[in-house]
Symmetry: C2
Subunit: 313 residues, 2 copies
């Protein structure tokens, strides 16, 4: 169920030449504010602006030559669509991206600019899945799930491996949790590359499916998706949940107002652009500092693709 | 008139241990857009969020022990006030900061948080100068001019020296010009550390005193200061102007709308927070790309202290 270290290591070596080794930022003021020593792994500076590039690259590199020729298909209106488009372009693989008809124009343009071939679908999950299936049937393209594909999970974990190679003595790593790919990958990295390094997650109260899943022991779902953290609206999957169950210490839930405050604090103090989803780990640390006090804490800053015309402050 | 290389080098070695060695960012998209290869020196990540830290540190370190005891005084409502406050705190020197009574509360708080002792003055240049003079008379503190003090000029130049040590083959460096301290320091760095590296500047049309000064051969002034680039409203001084006259190739003027566009472009593509003043060099490159095409171009990103509640987009 839990991938072997050898498999995790192979993914790291596979992904490394295709992504930016992102910098790690620190802030004296944010350390003082939290009572912890914080290390921010800046995946907002990753290619296409988010860690999703890592998972996309790893999944694409694991395809057979025949599969590469036929291409890949995914449905997403967010960073994974851009990641698959850009990684496919770099590797010369056709990428079919299903986007709901109501996806913002700016996101469609970003996908198109990276070379993704967009097919519009009905704006429901069922509509998206059906359109993706039609493309699979017609083209023979391989479907890539944005968070539950095991190669994607392993790829996302390479950000935390990089962070631990830069700072091997971290006591905790905190990631946001949405579909669970980043969190499962991060937990594997902490497990195999950390020295007793725990994994925590932050999650919005509004979409606390992962928190409830960890409590109940089975995958739970959200009834609404009303959170600013638009990357965290999805639910866990059958590949990433067992890893999360085995290796994640705790999921801390945060209010929307705390997300906005943590986002603004990081913009002002780190002078970097991060998404609302990306602000959730610091919000969790500020909400429950007792877990982190006097510890060395890694934070995965997941992405920086923000609509500057529509800021929450 | 022009400081010797030995003097420039001494300032570099003096400042180095007291400041962050800031990273250099690149962007494939911004390279494609300009036809140049751009290297962004991220002084927005400098201590207190701007290059001004460098000049303040250098000036303070050049004081005698007696002068250090009596402290320093400056008048500023911007980054130099914060820089002198923080550098003085780190070096255990009293810092008297004259701020106009109408300075924004947030700026007063920033100065106070770094330990600067604030005295309010009338909101005119004359009022600020008189209050600073009164403090000098009373305390024996040394007056530090934010852009025309030679030690400040030499300190500001250390950002470009660092950039040239990281990228010795730059063909051009572009800095913004306001009071002229950063531009003069940058030009000295390019002159002594570059291999035929030219210095260009960007300046808002609305406050184009430096452009006109270079044309007329004497220091010109601005009649109004209506630009978003609030760090660039001041005029040149008798120490920095001779350096600028001798070593700066050209000053390119830009419209307010071009500043806003360049600011937004850098926020979106580099995922970093920069001030309006800091966006002027890229605006200049985008306005007159012919000077930069197929060249390696360094850009001094001067600072990232932005009021997020009051963005121009």
């Amino acid at each position: 169920m839990i991938p072997l270290k050898k498999v995790v290591e192979e993914a790291y070596n596979r992904v490394l030449p295709h992504v930016h080794q992102t910098p790690v930022f620190t802030s004296r003021l944010l350390n003082e504010l939290t009572g912890a020593e914080l290390f921010f792994k800046c995946e907002n500076f990753q290619k296409m602006g988010a860690f999703k590039m890592r998972g996309a690259v790893n999944a694409l590199l694991q395809l057979s030559e025949e599969q590469k020729k036929r291409g890949v298909v995914t449905h997403s209106s967010g960073n994974f669509a851009q990641a698959v488009s850009l990684a496919s372009k770099n590797l010369n693989i056709p990428a079919y991206i299903v986007m709901p008809s109501n996806a913002p124009q700016v996101k469609k343009e970003a996908v198109a600019s990276y070379g993704g071939m967009i097919t519009q679908s009905l704006p429901t999950l069922e509509g998206r899945e059906r359109t993706a299936k039609e493309i699979q049937d017609k083209t023979g393209a391989t479907f890539l799930h944005p968070s539950n594909n095991m190669e994607v999970i392993l790829g996302q974990g390479t950000a935390a491996i990089e962070l631990l190679k830069q700072h091997p003595d971290l006591n905790v790593i905190v990631a946001p949790v949405g579909g669970g790919g980043l969190l499962a990958g991060t937990a594997l990295a902490a497990h195999y590359y950390g020295a007793n390094c725990k994994t925590f997650a932050g999650e919005p109260f509004a979409v606390d499916d992962a928190y409830r899943s960890l409590k109940s022991g089975r995958i739970e779902y959200n009834e609404t998706t009303k959170t600013l953290a638009d990357g965290l609206r999805t639910h866990l999957g059958d590949n990433n949940f067992p890893i999360i169950k085995a290796l994640v210490s705790e999921i801390i839930r945060v209010e929307e107002e705390e997300i906005i405050q943590a986002m603004r604090l990081q913009w002002e103090r780190l002078k970097i652009i991060i998404e609302a989803s990306c602000a959730v780990p610091l919000a969790a640390i500020l909400r429950e500092p007792k877990h982190f006090r006097n510890k060395k804490v890694g934070i995965i800053l997941s992405g920086g693709n923000v609509d500057l015309s529509n800021l929450p402050f």
